[in-house]
């Protein structure tokens, strides 16, 4: 059967099981959009290409499936790049499709031309410029395979508009065979044995889990391992949801804004079992002071993540779920940890996570706590970046994987709202909250139109403090309160939401917080809640940049 490039694209997406795409039309994708007109794949039109990429990313994080976004050449493609880089840093499976100028115009500085494969090379796991329509089906097949296997990541396919029109026989490759790409899924038996011995002989073991646990679907195995060893568990921002926050072995998040007891505990551990985490600088603080007494077992699917930042005693390359499963079978002798758990509990009592409840203003932490209670901890939370993100990480009790959706590695303001759209499209039965700041919500606020138009019912809790709060906090603590351009104004969020056809609620008093959340949840529409919160509230604890992670600023007496 002869099909055009555009038809091949849509047929291939269908065969890959794509149920929704987020995209924006333009001159060099007209042939594709003409076929989308007849396609039964759901299509969401955001109001900015960046939002298309974030929505695809959010969809992927919440569902575990590959997110798909689409944009035209030149500016359409460059607008995607922040979203692509965001997915790349957090290893999110995504396929981005861009139109390109006609093959014979490439390199001619044609209208809306940009070297998109060149621009996205360092922010994609792989990318393709399609030069022959006969290669298109294979390329799409490979792109989905690469995006979703090994350490996942975004893959971009750049398709010149003439290729979209050319016809060829459609041959769908049944399997993918790439000699140069063969991810390792099973851990080396010798290494697993070494790790098991080290764990059995440990006295103060600690699990440090990251986004790899979520990506690999290993939450059950982690819980089993922690309970079997009776070892405390701490997690990175990306690892939130990988272990229930309500569990007695849970230490919460570690690192720059982690709990003090997690940071102290990891410094005291004798064996750290790092699982799908990468010892990021926000986690380790000053490297040479990080967990000096600990032997480190590092399980990761990406060999390049191992021994990149800290020296690892037992590296195990492979899929976290497989390897932890294998370890569970092999561990016969469990360490005696009752003394260690007592010490950890003492740390929890000595350094609880807390905030001052004094003052007339609403505390942002309180808002997050109330969202947690009102949703029974069962909502999917997305965040923007900054204080809102850290409070959302600290004060909501996540008990399932894929319920905390946040820009970890890249730290992209403007991520949370479009990501929430993608989450809601992927998980229509879940309550979806974007915990936002008044700064970051303004970076993709145009998506109100998309939400209303497509009846994507998300709730946005704006922790409105009139500042770019996290930067202001750094200015307060390290730049003598010289608030250089961090005082920011915004629109009347209530009226703005209403003008888009959404619902706006303003909350200025503490007693209005819970009712406003309940009301928002009861409304079958997108709701902006403008919480007027304490303007100069800080996120604590805080490890100053470059300090050892047990040298925290506590904030409160």
């Amino acid at each position: 059967m002869k099909l055009s490039g555009a038809q091949i694209l849509l047929e291939s997406l269908k065969r890959e099981g794509v149920e929704v795409m987020f995209g924006y039309p333009g001159g060099q994708v007209l042939p594709i959009f003409d076929k989308i007109y007849d396609s039964d794949i759901k299509f969401i039109l955001p109001r900015h290409e960046q939002a298309a990429a974030h929505a695809a990313d959010g969809y992927a994080r919440a569902t575990g499936r590959v997110g798909v976004c689409l944009a035209t050449s030149g500016p359409g493609a460059t607008n995607l790049t922040t979203g692509i880089a965001n997915a790349y840093m957090d290893s999110i499976p995504m396929v981005a499709i861009t139109g390109q100028v006609k093959s014979n115009l490439i390199g001619n500085d044609a209208f809306q031309e940009a070297d998109v494969t060149g621009i996205t090379r360092p922010i994609t796991k792989h990318n393709y410029l399609v030069k022959d329509v006969r290669e298109l089906a294979r390329i799409i097949r490979e792109a989905f395979y690469i995006a979703s296997t090994g350490r996942p990541g975004p893959v971009l396919i750049d398709i010149p508009s003439d290729i979209q029109l050319q016809e060829t026989e459609f041959i769908w490759p049944e399997s993918v065979e790439m000699r140069s790409y063969k991810p390792t899924y099973f851990g080396h038996p010798g290494q697993i044995k070494k790790a098991v011995k080290l764990i059995s002989d440990s006295k103060k073991p600690l699990l440090y889990i990251g986004g790899g646990v979520i990506l690999s679907g290993a939450a059950l195995e982690i819980k089993e391992l922690a309970e079997k060893l009776q070892a405390p568990v701490t997690w990175t921002l990306m690892g939130i949801g990988g272990f229930p926050a309500t569990h007695k072995l849970a230490l919460g998040m570690l690192g720059m804004h982690g709990t003090a007891y997690a940071n102290h505990a990891i410094m005291d551990a004798d064996v750290i079992i790092a699982i799908g985490a990468r010892f990021d600088d926000r986690v380790t603080g000053r490297l040479d002071a990080f967990a000096p007494g600990a032997r480190v077992i590092h399980i990761d699917i990406d060999p390049a993540s191992i021994s990149k930042n800290i020296k690892v005693d037992v590296p195990i390359v492979g899929d976290v779920k497989n390897i932890v499963g294998e370890m569970l079978e092999q561990i016969r002798k469990v360490p005696e940890t009752s003394g260690w758990l007592k010490a950890v509990d003492a740390l929890k009592k000595k350094y609880p996570l807390k905030y001052s409840k004094d003052g007339e203003h609403i505390k942002p932490q309180y808002v997050v706590e109330q969202i947690d209670e009102a949703t029974g901890g069962e909502a999917i939370i997305t965040t923007e970046v900054g204080q809102n993100q850290m409070w959302a990480a600290q004060w909501y009790k996540y008990t399932h994987p894929r319920t905390f959706i946040s820009s970890g590695g890249l730290g992209t303001m403007g991520f949370g709202f479009p990501a929430a759209m993608g989450v809601k499209v992927g998980c229509p039965d879940k309550a979806v909250f974007d915990i936002a700041g008044d700064g970051s919500i303004q970076m993709n606020i145009q998506e109100l139109a998309t939400c209303v138009c497509n009846k994507i019912n998300v709730k946005v809790a704006i922790l409105n403090n009139g500042y770019l709060g996290m930067v202001r906090q750094w200015q307060e603590l390290f730049y003598k309160r010289r608030y250089s351009h961090t005082c920011i104004s915004g629109p009347d969020f209530v009226k703005l939401a209403e003008s888009y056809g959404a619902v706006g609620i303003r909350v200025s008093k503490k007693e209005e917080v819970r009712p406003a959340i309940e009301k928002a949840l009861s409304i079958n529409n997108t709701v902006f809640i403008d919480f007027r919160v304490e303007p100069e509230e800080n996120v604590f604890p805080m490890v100053p940049a470059g300090e050892a992670i047990n040298r925290m600023i506590e904030g409160l007496a």
């Binding site: 360092p122 410029l129 990149k308």
Partner: protein
């Protein structure tokens, strides 16, 4: 800084060199020399990359990051391997017939030869290890070097 020779087999596709070069520049690694050519299998190219690193850890990262590139088939590190390595040098020197004996004895020693003579210059070709080439260049300085070009190292175990 120490030098290490890596032999990298890659898919022979457009853009692969840019991926490799981009990886080095994005992560701040130094390429000392680079030689690229097709192999027996026209679908695969061989890149011999000489890298300069300050510590072993960086060399490990370079190898791992290279391996992560989808188009990279294999990475071989010759650092601790017995191997043969060669570089080709073309050098244009000032030359007149009175220099003949002096040049010939030099070229005999380094297995070089004159591949072109024009007016008062000669182009000398020599293949050897980098150390030998350096020594020859030092010696040829006496004639006056007008121009030189080197291929960069290639290696085989």
């Amino acid at each position: 800084m120490t030098r290490h020779t890596l032999s990298v087999l890659v898919e022979n596709k457009f853009g692969v060199l840019a991926r490799i070069a981009g990886l080095f520049s994005a992560r701040g690694y130094n390429i000392a020399s680079l030689a690229v050519s097709e192999t027996m299998d026209p679908a695969i190219s061989c890149m011999t990359i000489v890298v300069e690193v300050a510590e072993e850890k960086i060399l490990e990262q370079i190898k791992k990051q290279l391996n992560k590139l989808i188009d990279v088939v294999t990475v071989t590190d010759f650092t601790k391997k017995e191997h043969v390595n060669r570089e080709l040098l073309l050098v244009k020197i000032n030359y007149s017939s009175k220099d003949k004996a002096r040049l010939e004895s030099l070229l005999n020693k380094y297995l070089g030869k004159v591949v072109q003579r024009k007016d008062d210059t000669a182009i000398v070709e020599v293949v050897g290890e980098q150390q030998q080439i350096k020594q020859l260049l030092d010696a040829l300085n006496g004639f006056g070097i007008k121009e030189l070009v080197r291929t960069g190292k290639i290696a085989m175990a």
